[in-house]
Amino acid sequence: MSNSVFHFFLLFLTLFLHLTIVFSWKKEEFRNCNQTPFCKKARSRKPGYCSLIANDISVVDGNVNAKLIPKTSDQDSKPLILTLSVYQDGILRLKIDEDPNLNPPKKRFEVPDVIVPEFETKKLWLQRVSTEVIGGDSEPSSVVYLGDGFEGVIRADPFEIFVREKGGKRILSLNSHGLFDFEQLRAKKEGDDWEENFRGHTDTRPYGPQSISFDVSFYESEFVYGIPEHATRLGLKPTRGPGIDHSEPYRLFNLDVFEFLHESPFGLYGSVPFMLAHGKSRGTSGFFWLNAAEMQIDVLGAGWDADSGISLPSDQARIDTLWMSEAGVVDAFFFVGPGPKDVVRQYTSVTGMPAMPQHFATAYHQCRWNYRDEEDVELVDSKFDEFDIPYDVLWLDIEHTDGKRYFTWDKVLFPNPEEMQKKLYAKGRHMVTIVDPHIKRDDSYYIHREATQKRYYVKDAKGNDYDGWCWPGSSSYLDMLSPEVRDWWVEKFSLQNYVGSTPSLYIWNDMNEPSVFNGPEVTMPRDALHYGGAEHRELHNAYGYYFHMATSNGLVKRSNGQDRPFVLSRAIFPGTQRFGAVWTGDNTADWDQLRVSVSMVLTLGLTGISFSGADVGGYFGNPEPELLVRWYQLGAYYPFFRAHAHQDTKRREPWLFGERNTEIMKDAIRMRYILLPYFYTLFREANTTGVPVMRPLWMEFPYDEATFSNDDAFMVGKSLLVQGIFTEKAKSVNVYMPGEQAWYDLRTGITYKGASSHKLEVLEESIPAFQRAGAIIPRKDRLRRSSTQMVNDPYTLVIALNSSKAAEGELYIDDGKSFEFEQGAYIHRRFVFSDGKLTSINIAPSASGRSRFLSNCIVERIILLGHSSGPKSALIKPANQKVDVELGPLWLRGSKGPLVLTIRRPNVRIADDWTIKIL
């Protein structure tokens, strides 16, 4: 051990002694707000600090333009240019940047390729603004109409932007507390020291300070949500204010955090600067700041501004927030709601709808670092068959490569990768390999050679290829901001170029924050240089997004646009939902992390990223069998359901913990497979509306305050409520069941009254889950080795009648893999049960002249919950055929409850119109 290393360890040791509590999370290796000048400065400002006024308000090109100038004329300062635009669905967009005509030293970075092109087509061309004098203002304010009874207002002096109900109550506002600040770029003067140092890393900061901060207020809101990714509760706790324990702000800075804590505002792998606010009386609103630099966000506790003398409408409960970013411009969006689903739809109309996933990807994934070799893969695969446990995807982590050179295979461990994939695919199973953005600096590695020759790497501050350290050792990082580099990367995934790949192979992007082991805060230096001279600081949070985008496009291209991509990413940014799934990174096998996984996944869903999940079992450490079992039971309802484990953990495939546990885990996985038709329908709903698959209760019950901070339970779609079990040896659990309608226990069919809390016995074999009265859930009850093999299997419909003996539900089916559904090649049915009759209605738009999707699948069983048990038969029309009605089990394996009314073998085709009348 070298002397210096020894000293370093001594230092470490002393640090730990000082802290007394030893966290495995290396807190001191990451900057806190006080060590971050822009954050510290912004936090120290007092309300009313901003002295800007809006001047020269005019309508240009359908936008409202204005200049922001200091009220007390200051010769030095240059005006800022403000642009306000209005889009369909009540969306207000605010941009503030330096005046390009005044020759700023550099163009500030605007994040490209995040806003979907369709959004621009939704712009409403403003013709004029109306004016109105607010209160005792000296200047009139300008008002634009947003549609649906909402207005946007620019208040000139003091400068403020807000959205309100027409002529009435405020919904959202910006700079109401005068904390707006915009550090304009300036030429370096003699004596300016812009350098920043942190733990041995020097940031040259050649452009000096350039941060932006402002306050945003949400009116009539009881909770704010969103701004992933943090391991925190669903409802964001205040970080500052009277009576609030001191806290860091919520940090948005994509970082590879080793052993993250389960309750911390610290920034993790992804950043989505989109916040939702919700209250019972007004509903939901949202604010999104498109900015890829480091951001810190304070949620301010009530009374934080008590001494400021600022008076906002006092009849409106309000949550104030402070947004701070290191660089970039203001490009902010105000969403008026009014419902939670409206806000999500509005947000995803800007950043894009979640992609329709491959059907197989919605099933169960088996992963571990690492499945050693082909024999190991074959063994694990065969064990699933031996225990008759379905799974769809087997994953290979970094060790499958030849020395961490992605797109290569370790020739000893994986001599015949194609054959291996084909063997899996013969059972309808797929494989995923990992491809990370760090490229081994090895001249014999073709990717490195090409990237070096073509100058495709991110450069360091001096202009040389940035050389960092990651899994392969010395590595460089592809500059994915550049469309040219992305196009080049896309080609790497063709079946010819990726030797050993087959069409059943899909991709996993890890470490794309980017993770740099020897970089500041385990990432890339902020003064590294990208395409177009952009500094890394300006786009850091989007780096992984571009990498994910390029990889996803690579998979589309390899199939000539025929096959949907599946790419899992760890880094997250607004728009990630268009390119694939994400997971919550390297969690730990403990109960707290199981609990926080629910709020993490819910939060991602609220911000458009519907296809997400946490590592089942916990990545680090060895879960007790009970924890693992509970994790499977919960994870089966994550939109993305994957078990994963660290290299040094014990093997934990579901058959390794005794017969009983194997059965329970198998049951949990089977539950997912049985519900796949329902899940896939929800994925389609997300794809068309942005509404996530897994939802907080308040999204379905926005007027029920008891749901607002509930993150122990969640909804899968609108019909299923799931309660997690987060403690060891739990005997009972309180489940709050919202709404007026009753709930049917998913396992037993037993009903529970709505709008009340029920104390339930906790069972070993399942976690509580309930079907909402009034909902019809489609299932596929037959067990297969993989979801792919279920495609022709018949359906079961479970009808849970509400108090008026009615119910409805939907089913969406397509080929599960191509893009033909975009041309209308899908089946979309609505099932309506009322007056003793079930009707199947086509709700797909007529597909005249477009592609069609056909299915011969039938309905083999219809279960009626909440129906009297008298009827003996039912009549199918138009076939005019009678079928038996009898009492049968609710579940074909391990049914626990009483027998339920079952229509036996109606055998109607799922694609057809029909009615079935109970006689």
Binding site: S4, L19, R199, K422, V791
Partner: protein, 568 residues
Amino acid sequence: MNADEEFYKASSSGFIKCKDGSGQFTRAQLNDDFCDCLDGTDEPGTSACPGGKFYCRNAGHTPLYLFSSRVNDVMEWEFIGFAIFKATYFLESVKLKRLFSIIVSSLDQTYIISYLDEHMDCCDGSDEYDGSIKCPNTCWETGKVARDKLKRKIATYKEGLNLRKQVIERAKLTVAKDEAELSKLKSEETTLKGLVQQLKEHKEQIEKVEEKERLEKEKEDKKREEDAEKSKAKNEDEKEVHIQDESATESTQNNLEGSPMDQHDAVDEKETAGISDTDLHAGSEVTHDQVAKPEKDASENTDALSKEELGRLVASRWTGESTEKSKEDTTAKDGHDHNVQTPESTHSEDYDASDDDNQMYDDDDDDDDDIDDDVDKSMGEDIGDENHDNDPVSSYTSDSENESDLSDIATTSNPSWLEKIQRTVRNILQAVNLFQSPVNISDAAHVRKEYENASSKLSKLQSRISSLTRKLENDFGPAKEFYSFYDRCFENKQNKYVYKICPFKQASQEEGHSTTNLGRWEKFEDSYRTMVFSNGDMCWNGPDRSLKELEQKLDEMNKEQPQSHDEL
């Protein structure tokens, strides 16, 4: 005739009861593709009951129960290529049959057929009856393969029996030999013990005399010193100044050395202050400069690490390796990348025939010389290595330095060493006059040396005895068939890991230059089919490693197959 077939026949009248009593069904409902019995009794031929079993008769081969999940499962024709894959969207699934023939005519037939084979869960094809696939009846062929396999198995078994006989014979000889050696060693021990005792007494007497001489000399010295002190006192003033000088330089040196650490401490405090919650409030009073400063200082500490060291350090958190180790690994890996290519390719045959890729340390022919060698080696281990337990690697280097210093006693065929010692001792005892004072220095040295010599030989002998005793105490199986395993190790290359298993000693896993102790010998289990090694190195973030060495074919001595189930 299968019992199930009887079951359904016997209950031909009216209802048939589900086997689990969960319900009943009519004959018409048997295999009607609707699940009436939770246990699947009514659907032995369909996939309707999850978890049910499908029965294929497989005439010509073994009958088989399949999970119902395999019945009429969907085949992925699309796999063959995106072109065909696209075509399927326009075809109804009833036309799949035709698609099949298209594929056969347009693509490599052998591939398709092998592909089909993987899909046919029943070799008679009866599980894929819904018309979308035609499965050929491959039972005869499959059956033939199975029969051949069985034949081969029997042959190996016979061969194994033969081998076992030989090994038992050999073990008998070796055990007898070892036991003979042990008794001989024991008698030698008694003799040697006596000699050592004699030498010891002799030595002690000499030492007594020496001690006496020393005390006297001390007395004289003291006297001389007292005299000298008187004269010293005169020079004292001068000397004190000198001492002060020295201490001053010393303290500055201390400061210099200490200062970096002091700085570290200061930094720690500041950093900790920055981190602890209460102090952060106060943080606003701290000026920017003050905040920046500790950062800079802290930076110097990490500066001490090169970029590469820092990278390795951070990487090691995930990999759980010490940074040094990971360095080794990288070197090893690099070696693997570049240099080892050739050996790999030469060994490729071993890889393919993975059953045979175990390499014994020793050759199979264990003639007597070999056994002797082994004995030497193991003796070397035990004698040279008292903390053997802590040092798993050393036991592998059985052919190392130890050998030379054993040469004198190790060869049991040469008993003269004992006589030699006896003679020497006799000579010494005669020659040295104990009561002579002052003691003859060379005599004293001689006695001491001989004593050291003899007692070290004794301890070697004793440890040899104890190692032999320990060896013989082991459970070598009912007919001592594992006796010859005692001093042998087996290597099994499983891709990048090399598993080394030394029965009755320990097992380890090597990757490049790093070795992980998988466990020390504990016992046989499972009627001598499994070797248990326990208390291995701690898994990172986990419990001790342990290894169960499965010997699948115990009797097949030529093919011990250490199937390592590393339960990491």
